[in-house]
Amino acid sequence: MAKLPKPAELLKIDYKPPETGWMDTPVEFKPGTYSYAGKPESLNLIGFPNPRTWQPTDDDWQLPENWQEIILDGLRDRLERFRSLKLFMDICVRCGACADKCHFYLGSGDPKNMPVLRAELLRSVYRKEYTLAGKLMAKMVGARELTLPVLKEWFYYFFQCTECRRCSVFCPYGIDTAEITMIARELLNLVGLNIDWVMGPVSACYMKGNHLGIQPHGVVDSFDMALDDIEDITGVRLDLSFNRKGAEILYVPPSGDVFATPGTYSLMGQLMLFHEMGLDYTLSTYNSEGGNFGLFTSNEMMKRLNAKIYAEAKRLGVKWILGGECGHMWRVINQYMDTMNGPADFLEVPVSPITGTRFENAKSTKMIHVTEFTADLLRHNKIKLDPSRNKGIIATYHDSCNPARAMGLMEEPRYILDHCVEWHEMPEDTIREKTFCCGGGAGLGNDENMEMRMRGGFPRANAVKYVHEKHGVNMLACVCAIDRATLPPLMRYWVPGVEVCGVHELLGNALIMKGEKKREENLRFEPLQNLEDEVAEEDANV
């Protein structure tokens, strides 16, 4: 694995375009800036084409003989199926407003990371194949043949886009690079070009129900460990159920929160809250994943993985579904699930059993976000909180890309933070719809890609640094499991001293539970600072 340069080294970013035109500047697979190839065993499990052992740095990518034909046919087919693609191929005026909006461009200075040029990589081939000017004038009108170097460029740059949609906020025509990247990745997949960090989770999730490939007994064990920790900290033993028929609610968290810190703390907070509210819910081992790396593969694969949620809800006979804190999962649930696997006519419109609130905004999908659920509880004063337990934590809030720009979930998590902790917003240009990606979304959060992650995450980290220095922020709260995996190394690299957490971890710290013992530690087993103050006060009194 490549050695990661020091931050000062990485910041020597040259934004001057190269002397050679972009069509004459070949791609270079520099260690630390690309992801390893998908493994044949992953591809075999899900029946994907051209399984083989290869790496992007190989000269021979072992492509099928007629790979050009396969991709061009695939492109033609998708132009007929996606108006978005056809339109986005045609109407870009190359005004460049998107250029300095991409975190990868800001962090690398590579002009092909400007969203406009990323799209031109595909557009150039489109023009050559489908426009008269492209056929006649080629290079001058930005048209070129699909050659192997072009294909390598596609692989490098379409797996250097995190599908965060920030550029589409600023585009005067709403051209969405995420859409272009998604379709380009579908095309690449047709000839067996994909990355391990996507295909591994996809195949594991397909067969075993979660990205990490944890088997049913392992899932139960992981939850048991969380329950043990909760008992140690609060003295309350929670009772969980799995695959239970007749429960009112099916709860689907992202598996990242079940198996790895700091996500587990956030999951613990949610489990504690559900217990305290007496919620009649169950978990599923078959569908032990809210996330969906199919989104980073192809629309068909996304559908295959997403199908499990409704199938399991139907089998268990629940009334509605509650989803955990996860970013891209909510893009799938908000923008794709009902279309792909609905209608969910066997479910009921979600109604909070505690407050009676009817979630009309989810009347068709029948699935609500846990921060919507919790914000509603807080509004109705159903939760007893002691925010002083979060003393010492000064938080900021990172809008995860998909909940912000593919849903508009912005105030709900903030409302929860308002009740739990002291927190400060990052600068205006870096939050809400203008939020910056963690640098490791869309399957790019692997270790071999670390330099590119640090580059791509730089704009986000730099905004955290601003509030870290200004307000002493030491906790970066978010509602995304990928964030909770990718932001901690990003913070260690750019802003040491800032930890990462889910919103419900802070709620769990503050949550007053019936029958709990006096809390001495937070959900991370760190001593509570408000107690230290109490002790200090007592000492002073003596």
Binding site: D100, E120, A133, F170, G174, D338, F359, G408, E433
Partner: protein, 331 residues
Amino acid sequence: MNVAVALVIVLAILAIAYVGVELLGLAFVFSVVLPYVAVAVFVVGFIYRIVKWAKSPVPFRIPTTCGQQKSLDFIKQNKIENPSSRGWVIVRMALEVLCFRSLFRNSSAELTEKGDLAYQWEKWLWLFALVFHWSFFFVIIRHMRFFTDPVPGFVTLWEKIDGVFWVDLQQLYLTGVLLLVGITFLFIRRVVIPRVRYISLVNDFLPLLLIMGIAITGLMMRYLTHADISAIKELTMGLITFHPVVPEDLSMVFYAHLTLVCSLLIYFPMSKLMHAAGIFMSPTRNMANNNRMERHINPWNPEVEVHTYEQYEDEFRDKMRAVGLPLEKDI
């Protein structure tokens, strides 16, 4: 290089007009045939492109949300930036089309010497793009005078507003000047900003230069050469009533102007200029974010293979039993 090619194309168009009209005496071709052909190509091409886009379905509802969603009643929805109904989508689109809402968000990011990113006010592109497009629109409105008899009230009214300033004893139409100012800014920006120059193709410079040529020849006729307006109106009225006549007194500047306009009309449907129509069809802008409220139908929703619960239980039955998980078939 690309800018040079575009310039050569525009000059070639002008040269062809000159040779055709002055040397070969093809006034009829350039004043009658070409305009008819250009308008026909424009109309047919424009419709063809829209139909072509419309033929592809919109499989998924994928609006880019730029504000708070509709959720709980105590949380204020941003209805314009995150509309959940058709009415508010229309408002969002109107802002987009009429005010360039998204471009107005523009800022510029700069890496400071200290190694921090600073986001700066950058609305020039928005401002000049707006000035250019609206000026172009009003210039076209003013040109309605050439195709109507009597001239409708809204055209004369606008002429009064547009020409409120008088310079050297003649009315100066602001929009004509602003059109040239706007397009010149867009051109200079494309040449001067390195990364924008880097992505610019011939197809980006060509329309800019064509429109600059149109604006310059137009201004020349009005303020310098003082074209014979009655002769021009004789021609334009003949064209619009399908009784074309070619007046004697048409100047070469007019032919240059007309030929450039016709070139633009012909070029329009086969170029990026179709963004004018495309923006109305952009699924990230023209759809409501009501995915969880109303099901969107994908006409080609594919049948896919899924890994069923039954398959899962068959594979893990013993392990599931061992940890006390309920089973469908306890065999």
